[in-house]
């Protein structure tokens, strides 16, 4: 309990320092909370996430593992093209989780690295509401490591997909204070997934089979992944404080093995609006 308190205090201190530093260094800017970036702007969000990860990977164990998840996430959104109807959003997330089984006598470490890039069109653009959606490149790499498994101690995770992403932003005032509610959803559709199949051994996979049996076409019939974020942006000084819920639900049933990795996290971060200078070009 003491360790947890210490961790949360440290985290609060880090966030406070981060927010202070960002506030101090940011230029005085018009904090148009909830609006899409203008042609010469980009929105940059950096967040720390704390949550819960649940894993059940049929290759490693039939048991469910659960544990705290900590991530760092960064998102940049800017307008592209001549007008202000297309936006490019890049997202990076690095997460780590030490999980245990329900008997608390087995531990598994999870590492998750995500990178996504989307090109979204603004389908609706009003003063207080905007909706964008478009195609996305979705990559997810990482792995699971179970310390008690001798011959199958780890399983790498590689998932590359073409997906669709969308976002709805609703600006409103609460007690005369401007805020924005933002919901972002990402749905990978088709791509490549690396996953060992039922009974496939590393020796066979690496030295005999050259990974061919562990490489699969992933499509909604065998793999489902859905990521979403619900955020509340609150202007604070020259920046916006972002409080979010983030969910990532990853599930596949390939080669006779079922794998489920669910992340539910709370995010706290800072959003800044930058002016882009083109140096006359």
């Amino acid at each position: 309990m003491m360790a947890r308190c210490h961790c949360s205090n440290t985290l609060c201190a880090v966030l406070l320092v981060l927010a202070t530093a960002v506030s101090a260094t940011s230029r005085a800017q018009d904090c148009r909370v909830g609006s899409l970036p203008l042609k010469n702007e980009k929105l940059s969000a950096h967040s720390i996430m704390l949550g819960v990860l649940e894993v059940k990977d049929g290759f490693m164990s039939p048991l469910k593992y659960r544990g705290p998840m900590i991530d760092f996430a960064s998102e940049v959104r800017r307008s592209i093209g001549c007008g202000e109807s297309w936006y490019r959003t890049s997202f990076f997330k690095l997460g780590f989780s030490p999980t245990t089984n329900h008997s608390d006598n087995g531990s598994m470490l999870a590492l998750d690295i995500n990178w996504r890039m989307s090109w979204e069109r603004a389908w609706l653009k009003r003063d207080n509401l905007s909706i964008t959606a478009g195609p996305q490149i979705f990559t997810k790499v990482g792995g699971l490591y179970n310390s008690r498994s001798s011959n199958n101690p780890a399983v790498p995770k590689v998932y590359l997909a073409a997906s669709v992403a969308g976002q709805a932003v609703y600006g409103f005032r609460l007690w005369n204070y401007p805020m924005a509610l933002e919901w972002r959803a990402e749905l990978p559709l088709i791509g490549y997934n690396f996953s060992p199949t039922y009974g496939l051994q590393y020796y066979e996979m690496v030295y005999v089979d050259s990974f061919s049996e562990a490489s699969h076409l992933a499509w909604p019939g065998n793999l489902n992944n859905f990521c979403q974020r619900l955020s509340l942006d609150i202007p604070m000084g020259g920046v916006q404080l972002r409080l979010s819920y983030y969910g990532d639900y990853f599930h596949y049933d390939i080669g006779g093995l079922d794998c489920r990795i669910y992340e539910n996290s709370c995010m706290i971060g800072v959003v800044r609006r930058f002016e882009i200078k083109y140096n006359g070009r």
């Binding site: 048991l63 089984n101 509401l129 011959n151 009974g199 979403q228």
Partner: protein, 340 residues
């Protein structure tokens, strides 16, 4: 707009409530027994082979051990019943690992002559032997290189074998002693063997289970070993020494080396362990290991119950008293027969 907002919030609530289901959540003795029996039933790879060899009937095993389980039994009693049930598989790769004890089946070597005594071996290695990775090596008085490799988990990299073969280059032959080597990393099998062949050689087959049925297997895949990329590859006679303590990767090594024309195996039948092991867990967190992928020799024969030597030799009682290793001496005589 309010409807959309409500739908968003509802979606979030549903996702927040979502959680990963547990396949085996019943942690009672009955739940653990059923989970263990089912896990083995769906994943163990030698049911059909062992039904032929000694009449193993896994359904009958369930019916025989099931009545011994009650939900008020303690962990020690449960452990004993589960271990006894697993012993029906007669497989050294099957273990139940708990804080109570390490459940094992070791009859594959405990019920047979030892055929290896460290103090007698030390008489051959003397005290000025060399160590390279997991190998201890010495040139014997009759100009024969002797290598003892006691653990396939210990390093057997090209660097060490290049050094060993360079040291032995004027020797008439090599003795590779893998007695009482309980196995380790399979890739070390290929790494060592690659120094004893001039061409890519087929040394066996491997397959894996593809589903829960007892006969759900992938097709057999060929295991090839390529010559080591270094210039040091041994072509003179090689004697491989074995006993019942040769298990798992060592068993595979012996089976693979037998393919090579200049290799002769001396000693006792190996202990077996022809399935690549895999680990899983019971609902109460106990760890289970089992064979999941069978391997065969180059002729397609299972090596689960061991590999026969080319020359069957046991250490005699007289030799043992005199501090002589009968198996090493047999190998030396064979190598010396090539010396003109």
């Amino acid at each position: 707009m309010r409807r959309i907002l409500a739908a968003f919030i509802l979606a979030i609530c549903i996702c927040l409530a979502s959680c990963v289901p547990d396949t085996y959540s019943d942690t009672t003795p009955t739940g653990c027994f059923e989970a263990l029996w089912t896990l083995m039933d769906e994943h163990y790879c030698f049911f059909d082979y062992k039904a032929q060899e000694y009449g193993l009937d896994w359904d009958e095993v369930h019916d025989r051990y099931g009545p011994m389980i009650s939900d008020d039994m303690d962990d020690e009693a449960l452990f004993e019943v589960l271990c006894n049930m697993l012993s029906e598989l007669r497989d050294g790769h099957v273990n139940l690992s708990t804080s109570i004890d390490f459940g094992r089946y070791w009859s594959w070597w405990e019920d047979y002559p030892v055929n290896y005594y460290e103090h007698i071996r030390d008489g051959y290695l003397r005290t000025d032997y060399r160590i390279g990775g997991g190998m201890r090596y010495q040139i014997l008085d009759d100009n024969i290189g002797y290598v003892y490799y006691g653990d396939f988990s210990a390093s057997a990299s090209d660097t060490y074998w290049n050094r060993i073969l360079s040291y032995f280059k004027l020797c008439n032959g090599i003795i590779i002693d893998v007695r009482s080597n309980g196995g380790g990393v399979l890739t070390n099998v290929d790494a060592i063997m690659s120094h004893f062949t001039e061409e890519k050689v087929l040394c066996g087959y491997v397959c894996h289970k593809t589903g829960p049925g007892h006969d759900d297997f992938s097709g057999w895949k060929e295991r090839w070993v390529e010559p080591a990329s270094s210039e040091l590859r041994w072509q003179k006679p090689v004697a491989v020494l074995t006993n019942r303590g040769c298990f798992s990767a060592t068993n595979t090594f012996v089976s693979s080396m037998k393919v090579l024309p200049q290799v002769v195996v001396f000693g006792d039948r190996t202990g077996g362990g022809g399935g690549i092991p895999f680990s899983t867990e019971l609902p109460n967190g106990w760890s289970v290991r089992y064979s999941s992928a069978p391997m065969t020799d180059v002729d397609g024969r299972h090596i689960e119950f061991g590999v026969d030597p080319d020359v069957k030799v046991d250490i005699t009682e007289e030799d043992m008293i005199r501090g002589v290793d009968t198996i090493i001496e047999s190998a030396r005589s064979w190598i010396n027969s090539f010396v003109k």
